[in-house]
Symmetry: C2
Subunit: 280 residues, 2 copies
């Protein structure tokens, strides 16, 4: 690679770091990449760090020592957190998404990769300081959000299925009780899709009574895995008793009235969580 | 936003553009964002453009005139294209992924958001010059790749299902014949998940005889949509007659021998397509 000036290095470095979140990059790597002295690289990184932090892009951690380097940790500031939760709430309150039975059509929201990516960054910011080895979600509507979070945390995604396919190899299955309909259902996870003892973040698009999340927690026990947290895009309000109590949500449905054709949504608890993390 | 120096502007601008692919950003927007003269912004963009192009990040198109601006178009150079296809082929040739019946376990590959993102950028580079309004995939294994491509092309993703759920609203269903098993199956797409007349890129993880892709093409006719192209991660080799003939693949299985426990994979045709696009 040809020698780059500072201005060129800053552009390339920003691109490089953004694409390797939560990964340690040594100064030597950059020094070699740009054929520049480590002292110059160090000055470049000071500029990148300052801009990442003041512009709400995230933080650039410096790990000193021979095996040290820098690590980009995606972050979201309160202003962006507000913008995203508000945007989701407003989208949810569009009465045209009301379906028979009081269900909400959400595929236009879930089908927007840029928005999922932004929301994924918000979750990644909230869980940035926890050790997470994998994201677990359930097919199919949890998948877009799970990948968005996984890409910002730089960890793999495992997908729980409700059926059994030949392309999955041996699977571990459990029965669980749907929290709202009280029906017994089955969910399965390919044995080789998750390492034993992994620290796992559970992700889903929607949580009503939490039966699915509870099922995923039970399934994780079969893998001796630890649940680090639960993140959902939207939580329902009209729930008598939730089967899980520790979760993070972007939005909460305060009212879904099919007869009056009204949906009311409010921000979930993620802004509090973001606030806690930012203060740490 | 406080006034930024050139070094700071370059970092923030790179981040901003990378996150808004295929979207026109006016010089005035940047001039206001950084409280800088348009002439300075113009110089900044010249630097960004040069680095994007020399480092294989993509191109920065300049659209002149009052309604003009710049547009970041994700690109992949031949070297990176080679690296990605080789990486996939090597991963596929790991004999541990052989399952009974000669199926291949691929969820470790599909479950890696960073790799999917890189492959998605490769597809986005190949289809960069075509008008695409939406990505269409089928649940569930095509979803990760579809979102990766959608995020680089900045277009929404629509997901075809094989079942009918209450959360989808009215759906359009068709029957199709699986190309390899010759069985009749059903696939459905929510009426509101795709605009009539859209230009659509079909994406899937695996293509054998092409029955699913053919089915998606038939389904798209119900939406008066145009098929712009078909992109698959892996194509099978042992196919007597393929039901679709114009598609782009990253890798092709040249041999899957369950008895000898051997898998042989070779690069698909995407490198030729990339070469054609780069020459344009």
């Amino acid at each position: 690679m040809k020698k780059l000036k500072r201005s060129g290095r800053l552009v390339d470095m920003t691109y490089y770091l953004i694409n390797q979140p939560h990964q340690l990059v040594s100064l030597s790597y950059f020094a070699e990449r740009y054929q520049s002295a480590k002292s110059s690289i160090s000055e470049d990184l000071t500029i990148v760090k300052e801009i990442f932090e003041t512009q709400g892009i995230g933080s650039l951690l410096t790990i000193p020592g021979a095996s040290g380097g820098v690590k980009y940790v995606p972050g979201v500031d309160q202003e962006e957190g507000d913008r995203l939760t508000t945007k989701l709430c407003q989208a949810l309150m569009n009465k045209e998404r009301l379906l028979p039975g009081g269900y909400l059509y959400m595929m236009d929201i879930l089908g927007n990769p840029q928005f999922m990516n932004d929301i994924g960054k918000l979750f990644a910011a909230v869980f940035a300081n926890q050790r997470i080895d994998a994201i677990l979600t359930v097919a199919m509507k949890g998948i877009p959000l799970a990948y968005a979070i996984g890409s910002h945390l730089n960890v793999p995604v495992s997908i729980v299925r409700r059926d059994h396919r030949v392309t999955e190899g041996s699977m571990v299955s459990i029965n669980y009780v749907s929290g709202s309909t009280k029906r017994i259902q089955t969910m399965s996870l390919a044995r080789r899709s998750l390492k034993e003892g992994a620290n796992v973040l559970i992700v889903d698009d929607f949580m009503k009574a939490g039966g699915t999340a509870r099922g995923m927690m039970d399934l994780l026990q079969e893998f001796k895995a630890e649940v680090v947290g639960i993140g959902v895009l939207v939580e329902a309000e009209d729930v008598e008793e939730r089967l899980v109590d520790d979760y993070v949500s972007i939005s909460r449905l305060a009212e879904v009235n099919e007869k009056e054709m009204q949906v009311h949504a409010v921000p979930g608890n993620i802004l509090n969580k973001l606030n806690e993390v930012t203060k740490e």
